[in-house]
């Protein structure tokens, strides 16, 4: 669980601000100590709403330390773009994985678990478990 490289986390949203804010929130809640590498890939390169494969690929490269990259997405084209990149493309690191999780809660769980040294499967599981926390 520790010593080796950490899993990287990429947060993909239609909005630049949402992706950056959720990244800041997750890192903030991960607490002190070494934090896993986190990058935001929000909106289109010109700052509009949408999804950019180029920003996603750049973010994934930025956080790839060799332990895998967990990608969390918001909806629609963000989901389809990451799926298409994983299924057909070579733009993402070998061990890149789309994580099926709620965006905000999943991001916090992913960053906390990755920072604790969890491997990619454990990070994905922790983020996915966030679906189970009911709010009423």
């Amino acid at each position: 669980m520790s010593g080796g490289p950490m899993v990287g986390v990429v947060l993909v949203s239609h909005s630049k601000e949402v992706a950056a804010s959720v990244a800041a929130l997750a890192v903030g809640l991960a607490g002190g100590g070494a934090t896993a590498p986190v990058a935001a890939a929000g909106g289109t390169p010109d700052g509009g709403l949408g999804t950019s494969a180029e920003l996603i690929a750049a973010a994934a490269r930025e956080v790839d330390r060799g332990a895998g990259v967990a990608l969390l997405v918001d909806l629609g084209s963000a989901v389809l773009t990451v799926k298409a990149m994983i299924a057909e493309g070579d733009e993402l690191p070998e061990a890149a994985r789309l994580v099926d999780a709620p965006f905000v809660e999943g991001a916090v769980a992913a960053v906390v678990s990755a920072s604790a040294g969890a491997d990619l499967a454990a990070v994905a599981a922790a983020a996915g478990e966030a679906y189970g926390y009911r709010k009423e």
Binding site: T51, A53, E54, S77, L80, T81, K83, A87, E88
Partner: protein, 250 residues
């Protein structure tokens, strides 16, 4: 289901029926070296479409023609998308296909497969909406299935597109009747067995037939019953791909 290849024997018989003469013919300058031209009873010429040979130049011209049609129809695509989507389909497709044309013109790929793979990659990179990964997957998977052959037959193109459509179905989780691009792609590919013109007509009819459908995928599905009565923008742009194919093959 999509892309289940039917035997070509039936199509060949259909075309051969009533044919007075069959002779070898090549069009050296077209890129689509037509292996056979069939002359019908009343003198008109028909291509035995499965035998049509297509090279990389043909695929580059297809992408250019698609970009031209997308340009011409961009306003209409966006108008359709403003009724049930987020009003960006026209500009998204314009941006994507303009990038495709720039890329294949700057570095012309050597094979039909490479043209489609490069085009698909550009669409995924530049479109910015869900149509990017969907069209990108369609073309990239079709291109991969064509392999590295310097020329392919129309029948191989049809099989490649069928593989692309299967990948699109898997990616989006949609099926025909869900009011998506599949409603134009699937009939277009079916009819490609007959001719490029038949494929263009069938996909256009498929797009028109999305009007009464209830959207089951994408943003339009949030509208529920209100999506009924509008033509699907994705099916409409899919029909443009087949219209471009027919235009280039002529």
């Amino acid at each position: 289901m999509v892309g289940r290849p039917r035997g070509h024997g039936g199509a060949a018989l259909g075309v051969l029926r009533g044919i007075a003469a069959v002779f070898l013919h090549t069009c050296a300058d077209s890129g689509a070296a037509r292996a056979w031209v069939l002359t019908g009873e009343n003198g008109e010429k028909e291509w035995y479409v499965s035998e049509v040979i297509l090279d990389a130049g043909f695929f580059v011209r297809w992408m250019a023609a698609a970009a031209g049609l997308v340009d011409r129809e961009a306003e209409r695509l966006t108008e359709l998308d403003s009724a049930i989507g987020d009003a960006d389909h026209g500009s998204n497709m314009q941006r994507g296909f303009a990038a495709v044309v720039r890329t294949v013109a700057a570095q012309p790929p050597a094979t039909p497969g490479a043209v489609l793979v490069a085009a698909g990659r550009q669409l995924i990179s530049t479109v910015g909406g869900a149509s990017g990964p969907l069209y990108g997957t369609l073309l990239r998977r079709a291109g991969k299935s064509l392999g590295e052959a310097p020329q392919v037959t129309a029948a191989q193109l049809r099989a490649g597109l069928a593989a692309g459509v299967a990948a699109v179905e898997e990616l989006g989780g949609a099926t025909t009747g869900d009011k998506t691009m599949l409603d134009a792609l699937v009939p277009g590919i079916e009819a490609l067995e007959t001719s490029f013109d038949a494929a263009a007509t069938a996909s256009e009819e498929g797009a028109l037939a999305t009007v009464p459908l209830l959207a089951r995928k994408g943003r339009a599905s949030y509208l529920g019953e209100r999506s009924i009565g509008h033509q699907d923008p994705g099916a409409t742009s899919s029909a443009l791909l087949f219209a471009a194919l027919a235009e280039v093959a002529r």
